[in-house]
């Protein structure tokens, strides 16, 4: 079995795996990094979204061996240090997750969006997030959390009055 080195969350990791093994399974089964989730295996659901050189990609559909020399970021590496990013904090404060299973992929897609468009519109969010399914239907709060992170608001908890207050201002 060949060995190769991947740069994951800034750390070089050597792994021994079939060169055809998708990054998803190299992360989960070989390296024990299980934050990246398996949902469909055909690049449709977005649960396995990671960043490769800053771009969101489906880990189930890229062989890990093709990523030697590229910079891979997973959900475990989204917060650069012990502190949550503004995006993760917004996700916590607005109580976005229901079952939570798709949320790693949602966050990775949202983080990539904010990187390219720091102040996205609803249309930008729809375009960037349309490939990430949420079976529980957390889309309302995903939109809100991305806006909240973009505007760097202090923690605003989810409730109806907060939403209405915003509408009043608009």
């Amino acid at each position: 079995m060949p060995t190769y080195t991947l740069t994951i969350n800034g750390v070089d990791q050597e792994l021994e795996a079939d060169p055809a093994m998708p990054l998803l399974w190299a992360l989960r089964d070989v390296l024990g990094m299980v934050g990246t989730k398996f949902g469909c295996g055909i690049g449709q659901c977005g649960a396995c979204t990671v960043h490769v050189d800053g771009q969101p990609m489906r880990a189930c559909s890229i062989p890990a061996s093709a990523l030697v020399g590229r910079s891979i970021t997973t959900i475990e590496g989204l917060a650069a240090d012990a502190n949550l990013t503004a995006l993760q904090q917004a996700w916590v404060d607005l109580d976005v997750p229901q079952c939570g299973y798709c949320q790693s992929g949602q966050l990775m897609a949202a983080a990539a969006l904010l990187e390219s468009k720091p102040n996205p519109t609803d249309d930008d969010i729809d375009a960037a997030m349309a490939g990430n399914y949420c079976r529980c239907g957390t889309y309302v709060r995903i939109r809100q959390a991305i806006h909240q992170a973009a505007s760097n608001k202090t923690a605003m908890f989810y409730d109806a009055t907060a939403t209405n207050a915003e509408e009043d201002v608009a």
Binding site: K37, C40, I125, A127, Y158
Partner: protein
Amino acid sequence: MSLQNEHQQVVETVEQALSQEVRRLSETESGLTADNLSRRGFLKLSGVAGGGLVLAMALPSTKSMAQEEQDITGSMELNTFIKVTSEGKIQIYAQAPDMGQGVRTALPMIAAEELGVKWEDVEVLQAPVAERFGVQFAGGSLSVPREYQKMREMGASAREMFIGAAAAAMNVPREELKVEDSMVIHTSGQSMSFAELAQPSLANQPVPDPGTLKFKDKSEYKIIGSSQITGIDNTFLVTGNPLFGIDIKIPDMLYASYMKCPSISGKAVSANLEDIKRLPGIKDAFIIEGDGNFQQLLSGVAIVGNSTWAVFNAKQQLKVEWDTSSASKDSWTAMVEFADGNKDNDGSEPIAEVGDVAAAFADPANKVLTSHYEYPFLSHFCLEPINCTADYKKGENGEADTLDLWAPHQFPARMYTAAETVFGLPKEQVMVHPVTRIGGGFGRRFTSEFVCEAIAISKHVGAPVKLTWSREDCVRHDFYRSGGFQTVKAAVDADGKLVAWQNHLFATKLGERYTWEGRLNETEFPMLNVPNVKATKTPYEIGTPCGALRAPGSNVNAFVAESFINELAVAAGRDHLEFLLEIMGEPRWFEEGNPRSLHTGRAAGVIKAAAEKAGWGRQLPAGQGLGLAFHFSHAGYVAQVADVTVSSDKKLIVNKVTVAVDVGPIINMSGARAQVEGSVIDGISAMVGQKITMEDGAIEQSNFHDYPVMRIPATPEIDIHFLETDNPPTGLGEPAYPVVTPAVTNAIFAATGQRIRKLPLREHGYSI
């Protein structure tokens, strides 16, 4: 006990028991009586007679209990659900698994409120799977109503113990003390923190008699109903921590896949096993005979290897010869033809008969309407694929075999039953480990067939294995929401009043049992509110496994009844809102004395609220319409008004859904809103695009490309209003789901004049 249909039985049993319990409790004002032996026994179980904090069970007699004993060291147990650490932090056991419905947050909130602890000082632990925690079952929107009173008692009991310890330490009468924000405070202003009180003296406090416990008044609540409390696992979720069954990894674990016959219940005869075994990363491949029971262990081919990818990859190259002689022969096309040929008949089995529908239909003064409705089979499509980790160890030197199990399961204790029934392993030899989170349940994870598969594979290879189903496996081997057909006929009199209602249900049946959708209750709205009623069913044997899917039964009956009521209102030239309220009639219980039966006053309350908030009756531009629907399910009252726009090319935009809900007081405000938001989106998702079909017993869909889930751009505005009436709190995982479909299809009618009697919408050319 056979596992056949056990989950349906369990849900029914729990629902029945709960209904009786709620009825009994409602008979006493306090909700708790001195002769309530079962409750008292429950609390006493956690404390040694005469007081003390030691777990009642002294010596572990089973593998599971040994594990629990280890689990409780390091902190003091105040009662079954509440422990305190030496730093004064409060640990509360979450009784049931969390699959997104929020019980890991909501149930501990109830106990924390009565205890008087600051929410930041609470740590939630997942309870071991053990009888002392009661029914550890997540489903039927039952967790909150089942556990509410018990959680209050646990919290209040622990609070009294803190007060007792503080009274002794401060040398003041306990009546002069109160608990707030993790402090016991004396009327003088002197106070002691939970941390200061976490001493052996706390351990010596007697466990209070539950009959003496007092509960907080709503006005004192700091935790219950707060919108500032969010999901207990959020931080772990947003940082990718392992919380799900599929994340389990144990030493020396191998990975497995399992290929079953596409025609459900077929048998594997032979396969290219030697070719498979030579593939990279593959350790073994073998046929499992199975027992022919799709709730237990169907025949198939197991592949075991050193990664999920290796076994998935090998599965692609697997060639199996199947014996389909005993397999399902179901055909959706044939079902449609059968229903079409029988829609004008009466069903052979009676459900309800009141008054004289025939006379009402024959009366020339009445307007009579007949419609035929159709709804498809649905798959659950939980995003976390089905998985189970099993470690079957052969006993050495005459010792008994042992088994460890981890799986996302809505009723984990049922894994013990499966191990015993199918593998003959008594509970003493088995350990079911709790799993913190489940990646979506929706009723899919009551069965244990995947657990049996993992056990069989681990036993065969003599190593721990994690079995993971591919998405295709999940879609092709689900326990589906049954598809079906209903022919409804009704009469309105010259005043436009509903006077007769008839329903003929095409009722799918698996062996002796009807599917959830094959049962129509005689109490189903509006049958108790109409003077002439007739309901019958035509049984139809199927071989496709069916089970509970979010608001089972209700999710098809709401579509039929609420659409047809709209048809009747239109035919009678009446406003839907006014017509619906008239049918509801005077405020009363459908079943006097049963608070889980429908109360027409509460129903009217949500209907009026949704209509008012949505601006019912306002003028809208061409192509836009409002649709109203109400449904009562799982003791919850939900009315919705959908506001939709339909373009000339049938692009459907759901602009807004206004939802009014009465499930009594709300425990977890954010979580409750999330359930409603999710139900609306889930409902739209299914209504627009989802349909499972089968031919020759094989499911024809396989993944997201042919079973579309709604994406973010289609998300409507969702405006939610909780009425919070003074009734016992009931669950909210399900009641909002069935309502959105008829609300939207009635709105489509208002916008376009096209009546939707068949789902999904994409078969009529609609898209979102």
